[in-house]
């Protein structure tokens, strides 16, 4: 059975269903901007990149401004705190996708100093109390691995608690 596509065969009314798989692993080059971003996260610093043309500060950073098509190169240190713009509490379970167990929340957080929002996971908060506009801060991973989850999640910002 080595190297056979079909794992399992089901039969119903003389018709077959074959269970199979595609398993092609990928290694994606991050590029310079994302590499710099992750290097920053390893030092618990969040970097954005500014478009000198339209003044947008992109977090996470990228190489080209989608509005001006200008090459971006002006790095900006942004706050690890920001405002929750929108969110959802996920109640279903999808273990192959979700990095944490449901229920948990996704949100889009605009960090202070950034013009764009960052999609991320929100934890450490009573999920019923989530509200757009509340202040959140990034929680950094202790052993960074060079990926988006080097920020493990966002949680309510320390002294901003209660400002909801």
């Amino acid at each position: 059975m080595d190297n056979e596509t079909i794992l399992e065969v089901r039969e119903k009314d003389g018709l077959l269903v074959h269970q199979g798989v595609i398993r092609v692993p990928y290694t994606w080059a991050a590029g310079e901007a994302a590499s710099q971003f992750y290097a920053g996260l390893a030092r618990k610093v969040i970097y954005g990149i500014r478009c000198t043309h339209c003044d947008m500060v992109f977090v996470p950073p990228k190489k080209t401004c989608h509005q001006c098509f200008a090459e971006l190169g002006e790095w900006v240190k942004v706050s690890s705190r920001g405002v929750l713009e929108t969110f959802t509490v996920v109640h279903y379970s999808e273990p192959e996708l979700h990095p944490v167990q449901a229920p948990f929340a996704y949100g889009i957080i605009k960090l202070d100093g950034a013009s764009t929002g960052m999609a991320h996971i929100i934890q450490g908060v009573d999920l019923d109390r989530l509200q757009a506009g509340m202040s959140l801060e990034a929680v950094f991973k202790e052993q960074p691995e060079g990926n988006y989850l080097d920020i493990t999640c966002f949680r309510p910002a320390g002294e901003a608690k209660g400002h909801g």
């Binding site: 080059a29 713009e85 996708l97 999609a119 991320h120």
Partner: protein, 384 residues
């Protein structure tokens, strides 16, 4: 634009776990579309198919349907995306000097793969893919952004679900016709708030095909030709955090262009029926605004008023919409096919009486990053 008509349409019934393989589904609709148009394959100059290697579970999935779509021996090409885009490319080929008729096919067997995981493959592998978002959770972010901004209520979204599932009872192709109430929707399990089970389109398999023809190739057949008046598509920024999720900017732009081509000045008054891509109930409301059926933030009142119900002035999704049948890439082309039936007066129990101008709409991408808008009419443009 020269006059081009849709002269044949066909759909399978949409359901989960269809036993035909996708080549067989494509053959079914290709054959039926030809029969509908009263044509033989020899009358078709070229073919545009639609595939997605992730949903189909193979690379270069267009190979698998070559014979079934009638591609053998004729020029053929393949689009990956919503069927409204394949149809648009088919329209371009028909408008060129090279071809006079085009068969456009779409198929999708969503139930054969893992649709949430497949959707997740749209996210950026170097950034946010690891968050594990899928169609439901990402759309929930859009739903809340939109609803919060304008005070749209969950009950108003639920009304879309009630209306469309109810309309689906009149559509023999629909997958999930339901007789439900706003309360049923509100009480259905929360998946990713504010999205609940009954706010979500089903996982469906199916296929759809249409045939486009230049004016001089439109025969006086038994079917009334339906004329293409305006088409446009537009794509927003990629990352969710770079978009204003409370507005459908790309839809506004696509609609503006399509209306300009079609000479539509006030869509809410001129359009008789619309079929829009409501993968989630909130989407239909957001699309009303993007399409100019009402002002920003007014969609809640529009659905409450019943204007978009079957008895209203602008019925939306008489077919039951995508909420009642969602074979992903097929869904946009099915909107076009449904509009064609409406303009022919052949929509059976879901017919909007006297429909003369119809709008079909498709989306693709995360939170509908891309929109495509079609304006169709029962009469050709006047001679210029």
């Amino acid at each position: 634009m020269d006059n081009v008509a849709i002269i044949g349409v066909a759909q399978t019934k949409y359901e989960k776990g269809k036993t035909k393989n996708y080549a067989e589904l494509v053959y079914e609709v290709s054959r039926m579309a030809l029969d509908d148009a009263g044509l033989e394959l020899a009358d078709i100059d070229n073919v545009v198919t639609t595939t997605n290697d992730f949903y189909d579970g193979r690379t270069i999935a267009c190979m698998a349907i070559a014979e079934a779509a009638g591609s053998y021996g004729r020029d053929a090409t393949n689009v990956e995306g919503d069927g409204t885009l394949s149809a648009f490319y088919g329209l371009m080929r028909t408008l060129s000097d090279v071809y006079g008729t085009t068969l456009v096919t779409t198929h999708c067997k969503v139930s054969e793969g893992a649709p949430r995981k497949i959707f997740n493959q749209m996210f950026d592998p170097i950034y946010d893919r690891r968050l594990g978002m899928d169609a439901i959770s990402s759309s929930a972010l859009q739903a809340r952004a939109y609803m919060d901004r304008y005070g749209i209520t969950q009950e108003q979204c639920a009304r879309v679900s009630v209306k469309n599932h109810g309309n689906a009872r009149n559509n023999p192709y629909a997958h999930v016709p339901l007789d439900i109430t706003v309360e049923d929707v509100m009480k259905s399990p929360v998946l990713a708030d504010p999205i609940k089970r009954l706010d979500v389109a089903p996982v469906s398999d199916g296929a759809c095909a249409i045939i486009l023809a230049k004016e001089d190739r439109v025969k006086n057949g038994r079917r009334k030709p339906v004329w293409v008046k305006g088409v446009a598509h537009c794509t927003d920024a990629y990352r969710l955090g770079e978009r204003d999720l409370s507005r459908a900017g790309a839809l506004e732009e696509a609609a503006r262009k399509a209306y300009a081509m079609a000479g539509v000045k006030d869509p809410s008054k001129e359009i008789d029926v619309a079929e829009v891509y409501d993968a989630f109930s909130y989407m239909e409301l957001l699309w009303y605004e993007g399409l100019g059926f009402c002002g920003a933030g007014e969609s809640g009142r529009l659905i409450d008023s019943g204007v978009t119900g079957m008895a209203g002035a602008l019925p939306v999704n008489p077919s039951g919409g995508v909420l009642s049948a969602h074979a992903v890439q097929v869904a946009g082309l099915a909107r076009i096919a449904e509009c064609v039936l409406q303009l022919r007066g052949e929509a059976g129990r879901r017919q909007v009486p006297g429909a003369k101008l119809a709008l079909a709409h498709g989306i693709t991408g995360i939170c509908a990053q891309t929109h495509c808008v079609w304006v169709l009419s029962d009469t050709p443009a006047k001679e210029v």
